[in-house]
Subunit: 163 residues, 4 copies
């Protein structure tokens, strides 16, 4: 099952101390937990999305306005998450996010959730641009793409023009 080991080499680049990741703190509330006494695994996708949204906002992109003005919507195409260690009620998590690849019509993110020095979960998430009525893939609008490129700010390794 290949998808399971894809994040093995993530922790270094996504460590809270790394210099090129975007940091977003998340507090764990009752709503996030389940009867196992820990954060329900599906909720890490919400945490990762909040961090991506704030990263986009930091790039000057407001998704609600983007959709209203251009019809362009970012949708999640795939997610791969490894769960290492559980988070609990009242924990403060640090979400570290990094653009792995910026394509013409999609963006790949690597994201991780930490509690202090403990890696709790790591992920690869692909987000694609679609036209909201037809729900068809479209190129990321030019000014948005430029803003993402500035935000990713990581040189050619992180930014390509493929896909």
């Amino acid at each position: 099952m290949r998808g399971m080991e894809t994040t093995a080499r993530l922790p270094e680049a996504l460590h809270p101390g790394a210099d090129n990741g975007f940091i977003w703190p998340i507090r764990v509330y009752y709503e996030d937990t389940d009867a196992g006494g820990i954060v329900f695994y599906a909720n890490y996708l919400k945490f990762f999305e909040r961090a991506r949204t704030e990263w986009l906002r930091g790039c000057g992109i407001d998704q609600h306005r983007l959709a209203a003005e251009t019809g362009a919507l970012f949708v999640v195409r795939s997610t791969a998450v490894d769960y290492r260690s559980p988070a609990r009620l009242d924990d403060v998590l640090t979400i570290v996010s990094r653009v792995e690849r910026l394509g013409r019509a999609s963006v790949d993110f690597a994201q991780a959730a930490w509690r202090g020095d403990a890696l709790l979960a790591s992920s690869h998430i692909r987000v694609a641009c679609i036209e909201q009525n037809a729900m068809r893939p479209i190129p990321i609008p030019g000014d948005v793409h430029a803003a993402l490129q500035r935000g990713a700010g990581k040189g050619p390794a992180a930014v390509s023009t493929a896909t």
Copy 2:
């Protein structure tokens, strides 16, 4: 990004008409949707879990009782989901689930969500057995493992004793 293409060959084995998958229907309610007008992607993990839970129940395994009586808990170790096409309010989805590998301490599932003949999402999900107080991996209890093996019922290709 390897995790992204792992489900490319899934559809055949996980087609609603395939003879060795477990079928569970899911109705889409408002709670499942988001402002994009479609099912929020993280919620497919809930749909897949409901189907795994019902498959376990069909194997004679009640997770609440299992935890209370043995301290054994099934937790999700990794998830990889590809999103192909959106589901909408009031849709009825068919979740097809299949055990890909039954290990000593974990189970790999392949699961897919369909609306009629349209594949909406497919996934690989690894579930591991832990002891609930220490949160440490443990072998799946013998009678539970035997029940899973009977439930998987697919011969050596699907069932191994590794991991």
Copy 3:
């Protein structure tokens, strides 16, 4: 705090054995629970909504199609819920729903969640009809109102034409 005692007299009319309530079963999954080991209280609103949706469907009303064809949307105006006893993982709940008042532009429901003979939660929920673009209250479309009236089917006590 007046809102707190409004459901004191509900149990009789909303008992699973009562002859004029709509019955909908709900299974409790991990997604519904929290770290207290019980169903997260906000999730009863989801359970009640699923039951109302199925009651509407039983009246021949598909909300997705209704919105697409007429622009009419049912939205929740107010909720009052009393929590008596907790539900747990793997429980099967019975949701009993009853129209308390059918107005020109809104419907009041009384709803309760039971596990066998144990009342877990009871509620009053007001749903109003709005036009989805302007988000303004509108009268319930005539044929929909007639369908609701047939569905409520409880004589003048339950059905009025006020608001």
Copy 4:
């Protein structure tokens, strides 16, 4: 349906500019919205709970530690919410919270969600103290009660010793 109008006189006391309310900001993400394009009504209960949790934290009360050390758990006994106007993706809401009554074994909160000067939702929420194993009501532990009383800090009108 009495529960429906109980919040009619709330706005004044719970206005963001009032001097005795606790203020907590909430950003709206995709996870909070539904296919109606607005925040799913049940999610206001999550917003209100986050604000109460932060208010408790400000009183020096960590619920996870409280449960671990004393077995005392705060659970929601009843909720009454009026929805006035919808919130949308990317909105920043202000949650205003105020203790209405501090009893021996329960606390009543009035809470409201605002977007700027617009009142979106208002609520009364009763929280009770229980012993987590037996799930039975118990008096709020003395030091916790004292901390709540200091936190409520509103004189005799807001704080009583009944119930």
